[in-house]
């Protein structure tokens, strides 16, 4: 049987096809539309520099872009955490300037998602919103497919609980 090697497109094509996915993933991770835009742009800037290392045989373009986006988002979250600690240390507890994307999400869903951890939102974004299979999602998260499925199941269970309580309220 002849093995077909995956086709490698240009990065511009890949960006056009997967921009929304990367943006949604980063938005779910950060819950900050402005940060999501910046991180999405940064993801593609990094992708331009690393494009020569992309190997279609090791994963799809979307998986590869999500891995870069995750690294960028984690850097952002670390920086955010440091900033928050610094602000707490100086007793200037400023409210987060960012607001979730109010236009695209229902308020009850937005609040329910906000009450979840970024880890839960991340797996929901990858598996439900981006519709990645467990293997690809696990590759992005650095875990096994079965661990990814377990993590998704727990995240959805928590989301259902939050949605239920939101609706009751």
């Amino acid at each position: 049987m002849r093995c077909m090697r995956p086709v490698r497109h240009s990065l511009a094509d890949a960006a056009e096809r997967h921009l929304d996915d990367v943006y949604r993933y980063v938005l779910y991770l950060t819950r900050d539309p402005q940060a999501a835009e910046d991180l999405t742009a940064e993801t593609f800037e990094r992708a331009v520099r690393l494009w020569h290392r992309f190997d279609p045989a090791r994963g799809s373009e979307r998986t590869w872009l999500c891995q870069i986006a995750r690294t960028a988002a984690l850097d952002h979250l670390r920086a955010e955490e440091r900033r928050r600690r610094r602000e707490e240390r100086y007793a200037s507890l400023a409210e987060r300037a960012s607001e979730p994307d109010a236009e695209s999400l229902s308020p009850w869903l937005r609040q329910a998602l906000a009450s979840l951890s970024a880890a839960d939102r991340e797996v929901i974004a990858l598996r439900i919103i981006l519709d990645l299979d467990p293997a690809d999602a696990g590759r992005v998260l650095g875990i096994s497919p079965s661990a990814c499925t377990t993590r998704l199941s727990r995240a959805l269970q928590r989301l259902e609980e939050k949605v239920g309580s939101q609706r009751v309220a």
Binding site: A15, E37, A41, A47, S104, A118, I129
Partner: protein
């Protein structure tokens, strides 16, 4: 998993704003920077085969080089065949040695292979003959024949050692003193007692020392003739000592020492000398094995450090992954 909730999540998927779309399009359509030419992976991918090829080339070169130069047992090694009977004394050599006989030489030449002592010169003549005989019965007979031959030729037996540790197998070592004038005949007779396995003849010149002793005695005698009393007695005693010494050397020169080793053990055939190609291959394989041994040694020495490094990298990776997960759970 609630299908309804999943459907809601999928229906409410945010899209990237147009501004972001334009921003990303501007980034991705720009010319990407040229990748680095010499990455660690590329250097390693190039260096590994180059090092392997150099090692192989060095091994082959050394193998070919040693195959061309004559080896100790190689084809071009000179075979030392004992010369035929010759007047060693005429050469005035202080000592001559003739090694083991050439096994390939015909039997007739092997029988007369021992050099003759020098006529008219005092020499220390020593010969060793190793003979193969069939069984212990013949070993005993041959030993007795050798003793009889020595006596018949005017010689005498210094020592005899006979050993037969197992039935049918045995060795005998006979040390004989044969008059120098008849040693050639004795060796010819001894060589007919069995198959010659080895022959070693050593001749050392004693004449020079003998002449010096004679000159010294004459000088002391002339001096003693002019002296009287205690001084003369002292010189005469010294002359007597020197004469005794000269007589001892003369006795030594009058008889040759012949060591006769008889054995029933068939010697093993020596391994055929390897050919040039075989030697080249052997040497190349030897060099490669040495290189592998050095590489293995280096690996063994460096392995604790490599293990520590790998453990550190794995630990750091696990720690970072754990830290990322905690960060995501907090965020």
């Amino acid at each position: 998993m609630s299908p309804e909730l999943v459907a809601v999540l999928r229906s409410e998927t945010p899209a990237a704003p147009d501004a972001l779309r334009e921003r990303v399009a501007a980034v991705t359509t720009a010319t990407p920077p040229a990748p680095r030419r010499f990455t660690a992976r590329r250097v390693l991918a190039f260096a590994a085969p180059v090092v392997a090829a150099l090692s192989l080339a060095a091994a082959v070169a050394v193998g070919l080089n040693t195959a061309v130069s004559p080896g100790p047992g190689g084809e071009s090694a000179a075979k030392v065949a004992p010369p035929a009977a010759q007047d060693v004394g005429a050469r005035e050599a202080p000592g001559l040695t003739f090694g083991p006989i050439d096994e390939a030489a015909p039997e007739s030449s092997r029988r007369s292979a021992a050099p003759a002592p020098g006529a008219g010169r005092a020499q220390d003549y020593r010969a060793t003959l190793t003979l193969l005989v069939d069984g212990t019965g013949e070993l005993s007979t041959t030993t007795q024949k050798a003793l009889r031959t020595a006596r018949r030729l005017g010689g005498y037996v210094v020592a005899v050692s006979y050993s037969s540790p197992e039935p049918g197998e045995g060795t005998a070592a006979v040390r004989l003193r044969i008059p120098v004038s008849r040693v050639q005949a004795a060796i010819v007779e001894f060589s007919g007692l069995g198959r010659i396995l080895a022959q070693d003849t050593r001749i050392s010149d004693l004449q020079q020392g003998l002449d010096e002793l004679t000159r010294e005695i004459r000088r002391l005698e002339r001096r003693a003739a002019t002296l009287k009393g205690e001084e003369r007695a002292r010189l005469l005693a010294q002359i007597a000592r020197l004469r005794s010494q000269r007589a001892q050397v003369n006795r030594q020169a009058a008889f040759a020492t012949v060591n006769l080793d008889l054995t029933t053990h068939e010697p093993k055939e020596p391994a055929a000398a390897p050919g040039r190609l075989e030697r080249a291959l052997d040497d190349a394989v030897g060099i490669l094995l040495a290189e592998l041994a050095i590489a293995a040694y280096a690996l063994i020495v460096a392995s604790p450090l490599l293990i520590l490094l790998a453990a550190g990298l794995l630990g750091n990776r696990a720690y970072r992954r754990h830290a990322d997960q905690r960060l995501l759970e907090r965020a």
